[in-house]
Symmetry: C2
Subunit: 316 residues, 2 copies
């Protein structure tokens, strides 16, 4: 098992699977995950942190493996009754999942920061890595649909869940990001460790992490110690709307497009064998390409991907 | 079945049972219940209205008949998991019950008033009476324990649930009550109907209803049309801490003590056969006594009590 400090920038499902692989080949106590919070939202009065929860449930082996989100062995007593009452039941909140949101909301109402609650939750679930929200300050993803021409901004969950990310996107912004301070430990974890950008959506998962000004500056100074895993394989995203968003927002939906997005803060891009023909173009875009099997169809394959990425970023 | 407008001032369990009896003998569409909200509190980010919920569940025949509060056929998936996470699980929130709190909290976050949400909930549960919170403004019961001498104020739920009302009380006050406006419909329901004060705790259920200044003034002008059912029988409360609180706060724990508390806003006091010897003392205290069987050990007995009370207040 490898050792040494490693920090992973993470969104939800893809990052969670990558981290699960990483923890099989690297000492968990040496790993820090810095997780996107711009999808966080309040529903029914509850503070919901989708990416933090997906990472937590996945690493605790309590994820619903069919959906990739939510808890295994979940039940739906509350949501079913809420629907009967005429309440909003478009966001699937299972009973076990709800308990976590109640816990987070109560602790925050008592004055705990999101990082403090996240640390408590990670301990409850027996996680051995360090899990940090990117910021304790609010960062909120806002999406402007492409149609109609005068469409108003909508919240991320409205786009992602209610609309099932089935609409074209004109623009994405992160309200609050310029004023957001990195959570305690974030800059330190980025300054002294090998850094991996997990295969997450570049716009709505990685964007609102690297878009925090001090984080961007820190990474830019250390780009030789930063390797990203491409979320795009064969011109499409493995999961979710990353590919479609790249097209919508005027980027080439390929590993080359990813390289152009990441080149300022990451030196290495891990791409799939399917994209080996684009390795030279990735290099031309300014990133060192590493070609491997990047499809995480099993924990073993995720572990192999993590090992290759670690070797690329650490130079050994 | 009787008809004509009747308005009931209500707390939780005792009032709910009285109302269930009343609706057996009086046309439900003519009945308004004005319910105490000073026990309302926020936990896990959720707006919880214990008295409104107890009345709703009881009248919908969905109450847990063993406890007198909470839902029948309840499950505890969320609370069990919350306890595992180290969360606050001292307030028993079942899965079905939680759905209602989620609904209320979400609707209020959308701008609905408590009365509006209460009306929606009553419709969902198929209630035929009109259910009104006493106010849409916050009224919060604060209890000062008798011991130690320098004890600080505590919240009502801390006293009632966490401490199981097992401590002596030095004083009770209702934060916000002087500024509270009656909810829409409340003053009208008190101005034109026969009014019944349900057998609820005089200090922490009825007190924070009749203590709203405009309500107190309205009732005082109509005391001949107001009948109260004593919550004290044989010198003790049927349920809960009313008897102990009367002693703690320097009142005689008897129907006479109740008469002295209610005389300014109610003309008639319905007392139990067990207290028939105190009828003259009730009259001396300024209220017209009506002696009957007031123990609501079954819905039929509650219905008989309601009928007697209606006859007393309407004069027929």
């Amino acid at each position: 098992m490898r050792t040494g400090r490693v920090t992973v920038l993470a969104g939800g499902v893809g990052a969670a699977r990558f981290l699960r692989g990483l923890l099989r080949v690297h000492r968990p106590a040496d790993v820090t995950a810095i997780v996107n919070v711009s999808d966080d939202f309040t529903l029914h009065g509850l503070h919901i942190s989708p990416d933090l929860d997906t990472v937590t449930y996945t690493l605790a082996e309590q994820i619903n493996t069919e959906t990739g989100w939510g808890r295994a062995d979940e039940t739906w007593r509350v949501l079913t009754e809420l629907g009967r009452l005429g309440g909003q039941d478009w966001f699937q909140l299972g009973d076990l999942d709800l308990a976590l949101h109640l816990f987070r909301t109560q602790r925050r109402s008592e004055g705990a920061t999101l990082s403090e609650v996240t640390s408590e939750i990670a301990a409850s679930f027996g996680l051995e890595l360090r899990l940090l929200p990117v910021s304790d300050d609010p960062i909120q993803t806002r999406i402007t649909p492409a149609e109609p021409a005068d469409a108003s901004e909508i919240d991320f969950q409205d786009y992602f869940v209610a609309q099932r990310h089935g609409i074209a996107v004109r623009s994405v912004r992160f309200a609050g990001i310029d004023a957001a301070q990195p959570a305690p430990g974030v800059l330190d974890a980025l300054s002294t460790a090998d850094v991996i950008v997990a295969p997450s959506n570049p716009f709505v998962s990685i964007g609102p992490v690297v878009g925090v000004p001090t984080i961007r500056d820190t990474l830019a100074r250390r780009r030789d110690s930063v390797a990203a895993v491409s979320p795009i394989v064969g011109g499409a995203s493995i999961k979710g709307p990353a590919g479609a968003m790249m097209r919508d927002l005027g980027h080439e939906p390929s590993v080359v497009g990813i390289a152009r997005l990441y080149v300022e803060f990451a030196g290495t891009l891990v791409i799939d064998n399917a994209d080996r023909d684009l390795a030279d173009a990735v290099a031309d875009a300014g990133m060192t390409p590493v070609v491997t099997d990047s499809i995480m169809s099993s924990p073993e394959r995720a572990a192999a991907l993590a090992r290759t990425t670690l070797e690329a970023v650490s130079g050994q």
